[in-house]
Symmetry: C2
Subunit: 343 residues, 2 copies
Amino acid sequence: MSRRPTLKDIARETGVHVSTVSRALDPQKRSSLTEEIVVKIRQAADRLGYRPNRIAFSLRKQKSMTVGVMIPDITNMIFPPIVRGIESVMEPLGYASIIVNTDGDSDRERRLTETLQERGVDGIIHTAVLRSDPNIVEAARQGLPVVTLNRKVEEAEIPYVINDEEAGIRMIFDHLHDHGHRRIAHLAGPRDLSTGLLRREAFCSVARDYGLSADALVIEEACRFEEEEGRRCAKEILSRSPETTAILCANDRLALGAMDYCARNGHPCPDKISITGFNDMPFLDLIPPGLTTVRIEQFDAGATAARLLVQMIDGCDGKVPRETVLPVSLKCRNSVLRIEPDH
Amino acid sequence: MSRRPTLKDIARETGVHVSTVSRALDPQKRSSLTEEIVVKIRQAADRLGYRPNRIAFSLRKQKSMTVGVMIPDITNMIFPPIVRGIESVMEPLGYASIIVNTDGDSDRERRLTETLQERGVDGIIHTAVLRSDPNIVEAARQGLPVVTLNRKVEEAEIPYVINDEEAGIRMIFDHLHDHGHRRIAHLAGPRDLSTGLLRREAFCSVARDYGLSADALVIEEACRFEEEEGRRCAKEILSRSPETTAILCANDRLALGAMDYCARNGHPCPDKISITGFNDMPFLDLIPPGLTTVRIEQFDAGATAARLLVQMIDGCDGKVPRETVLPVSLKCRNSVLRIEPDH
DNA sequence: GTGAAAGCGCTAACAC
DNA sequence: GTGTTAGCGCTTTCAC
């Protein structure tokens, strides 16, 4: 359990100064040294099993080679692929990630943001941001590189990468309409999350394009993106508007909840009612009847956000784009039934 | 984007020495200072928005307040709950976790172990260890606190927390036997993982207790804990031993794969064949017909491992227990059919 | 009760 | 080409 060797140990071992050792071990500066001494130093380093101390490096360089990744909850299956996407670009560059779960708790988020800053993270990828989010805005204002993922914050110029919500909703609405559905309800997400709002707005806009008047639209808003809320809202929709033939849900978990409620209450999907989701989370294909949904490339989204963040950290060339919109696609399974349009 | 304030800034502001500021801000040592000056310093700190620099702290104290968490792959749904369990004890204690994915790649694991050590982690929780795993053994030998989770490594005295594999296999075997099954095949996990081996051994041992001779046992071993391997092995079992009435799988993913293969090849579960899993991963309840499996408390396992690790780091009282075995329970769903025993 | 000084392991001016 | 020196922000002896 002997202490890890330091530059000083190598210096003593080889009889040179620590700064020489430091240079010899830095690929950038190696060139300014004699070949002979470099070899000697590297051999000594290998022999002693030297590993650089990144903490000392961080303190000196004011760069921790660490980024913070804020997510609502890693047990929500759409996040692990995002995390892997981030890792796929960060790790090869030598960055480590500290992943924290906010649980959608803004107080907790504030504390975690502070913790990350105390730990000197070089930047933050935030996948749990609210449309209005003073904590992260303040951090960004102080000069910390931040990029938000999946959601955007409205009060600041923080770069974000989102999916093409509008296109996704349009695809799925078209799909329902093509299958004869005219009485399409929207099970909306929370209004304080940008995805919730964006998808709702897209729904209204597409409905308008199809000539449905806004006040005829039945929309029920979930408080959280959770199955339980899906059940509650499905119940609401069914009782308020029993003639509904399809429920377009703002995400998969809401759809799963809605499907469960409908199945238990004499409206099995797809026979009695068609239901659609959004996200295409893992394992959805194994759950009957197979939710038709909008596929989002979570891994790519993570990787894209990571690339942006690195650009901001390196602060190299011009500004990074404020907005990055990733393409989505329709994933047809079996939760949408073809029916005769009733008009 | 002004630089974050340091102790020096507060010292200048209040006209005292930095060491005094340091003491005033340390709850432990605050007592040795005048009440008056402590108040003045704390006010100045608040006014400037001082946040301690944990990197400097780490360098000085040789303690990073960071632990490494090695998992095979965070997108495997059994791991997120473990991560949250670890976090639930680590975060309140001020520890952050760096989570890394090994992808079961031993080379990658070695690199990651080194990276974690360079970053000065105070300990490692390893959920992806092989039965023989020189990398982590070497790290532990050098004095780094390590605890393994779900699996154990055989060549060293590294504390581990595992689930009661033996009891789990026994429960599920009993359950199958109670339902009349006598021709029970085992779809085993990889032999180089302790769970794979332990569950296989338990299977053989229970079978022996039931008077089944070892050479009559049909066992097919998967190379990885993945659906694809489950399909392959199910095919093998069905062709080698068509009279099989039940397949006891070493984990849920293998079971899902087996179920899929059987369904597609005229052996729907549970009507033609009964299948069981192990782990009770999330969302299993939504996948028909509902896999009967052994429930593991992943969150608790993570929390337990974290508690052990903290004990080791604090190096306080006596040694931590080498072995911690967590209880498991039977989770009955609908993948096991009651049949007439054929003898 | 408070200040002075050293040092954690490293990098980067600046000398020579 | 290599050594000297200073310093990143903090804690901790040791003085007084």
